[in-house]
Symmetry: C2
Subunit: 282 residues, 2 copies
């Protein structure tokens, strides 16, 4: 993590059976981030969405979230990302606000999303008669040539843990990591929200000009939800692995999109819920 | 759980080292629920919010979510909850939509929330100069007389697990339970989303005329986020306990609201992050 310490010290009353001590403890920091989109004519920007996140890598989080929502489609759609300069905003709150300036086409997509189908109230799935309609028409097809040996996948959770901060190894923060096909860890981001951790790695890839992430593997420390598979799909990731369980809709979307979805990747074993063809047979 | 099976059967390729078998497996069902609010003059209703949830207890989920957002403030604010009758909606999708009819005052609150500060883009925290401003001005103060013996708390995680379905005991679903001060379990709800599980128990309480939940204890199977503590606060719960870690903002809000917040409640031990006075000393 950069910029900000993702851990806050606190005092707790620790009870163990009949024993009671007061001692120091650490908590994962959770703070709101308000993402504002600045109009073409300038100004303080309009609130677009707020997410509860762990501070650190905010630029990546904003870039990744706007990309996942289809507001920006490439690095050049994002003109700038900055803290607000509006003097009406309390200086102490500036670190919880990020203002994005977009090229006109991206700005129009953001406004359309806000107006027609505001995030949160927009249902990308309810009105669809089948899961295939959820896949964006302009989605880049996932790479199909990739083949991975299971041993490489089995080694990834340990690599992810090694890359995490001491605190998050205790389970205080979710982690998302992007791996190359040879098993090397390319990027790792942490957050109290697993969707934020994925947005951060996607934002990293966008800002580094590495999208789509064809031939890469996404590993998440927790479960795999529909939203997470959807974000991976937009980023072009052909393989998603989770240390814990996927949901039914996550497995359905992965199957329909031709993505490989691995769950319960731990202790040298795993379940493959979709796209087993990318994993070499024994 | 009622109505719908929260578990979906699937086939997986299970790899364990060099061995590979194809076998049956079970997944937690995740499906979208679009919540619509019907205007006073009737009609199909306008989309208010969509949440990804595990089907089952949808009426409770909708009631609890509208209550947590301040749209409805009592049972009588909610005139009816029903599946859509609009013939344009695919019959297969009806189970993913719920239409709420509200009394005019509640309807106006819903519209205000949509118009001014749409859910998801509304930041209830960013613009506040301190955590105390997050607490609703009309929030019922939490009960202060309650005293609980630690042994009762230590026994609750096992009671929660006993009450869960066989599947969710494996970790496939989050659980939220409301306990009486004598340690008995009053209500238990499950969901892929922990916030949904809490909305479901709050909706249960609302529909049963049991709000505020003064003198009750909320136990959640996972972590405690800010949002979760906020929902518990609105429901008047003086004690929130989590099997896993709280976030910094969850602990801050609990402290400010005079709520008891317990984390890592497992194996006969716990950490008390706020309001330790309600737990009897050794």
């Amino acid at each position: 993590m950069s910029e900000v310490e993702p851990v806050e010290r606190t005092r707790v009353v620790a009870r163990d059976g009949d024993r009671q001590v007061e001692r120091d403890d650490a908590l994962a920091v959770e703070e709101p981030l308000e993402i504002r989109i600045r109009p073409a004519q300038g100004g303080p920007g309009r609130p677009f969405v707020t997410t509860m996140r762990t501070p650190g890598n905010d630029e990546e989080l904003v870039a990744g979230l706007l990309f996942a929502e289809g507001v920006i489609q490439s690095r050049s759609d994002l003109r700038s990302l900055e803290r607000p300069v509006d003097p009406r905003i309390d200086p102490e709150l500036r670190s919880n606000v990020m203002v994005a300036s977009l090229v006109p086409e991206a700005h129009a997509r953001g406004e359309k999303l806000e107006r027609g189908t505001v995030m949160g109230s927009a249902c990308g799935v309810c009105g669809k008669t089948s899961i295939e309609n959820v896949i964006p028409a302009d989605a880049v097809p996932l790479e199909t040539r990739l083949r991975i040996r299971p041993e490489l996948l089995f080694a990834m959770p340990e690599r992810l843990r090694e890359g995490q901060s001491v605190f998050s190894k205790t389970g205080g923060l979710h982690a998302a990591g992007v791996f190359a096909a040879d098993g090397s860890l390319l990027a790792l981001r942490e957050d109290v929200g697993r969707h934020n951790a994925v947005d951060k790695v996607a934002g990293w890839a966008l800002r580094e000009g590495r999208l789509p992430l064809a031939g890469r593997i996404l590993l998440v420390s927790g479960r795999a939800s529909f939203e997470l598979v959807q974000k991976a799909l937009v980023a072009g990731l052909p393989v998603v692995a989770a240390v814990s369980a996927p949901s039914s809709l996550a497995a359905d979307l992965a199957e329909e999109a031709g993505m490989t979805l691995v769950g319960f990747l731990r202790g040298g074993s795993m379940n493959v819920y979709a796209g087993a063809g990318r994993i070499t047979a024994p």
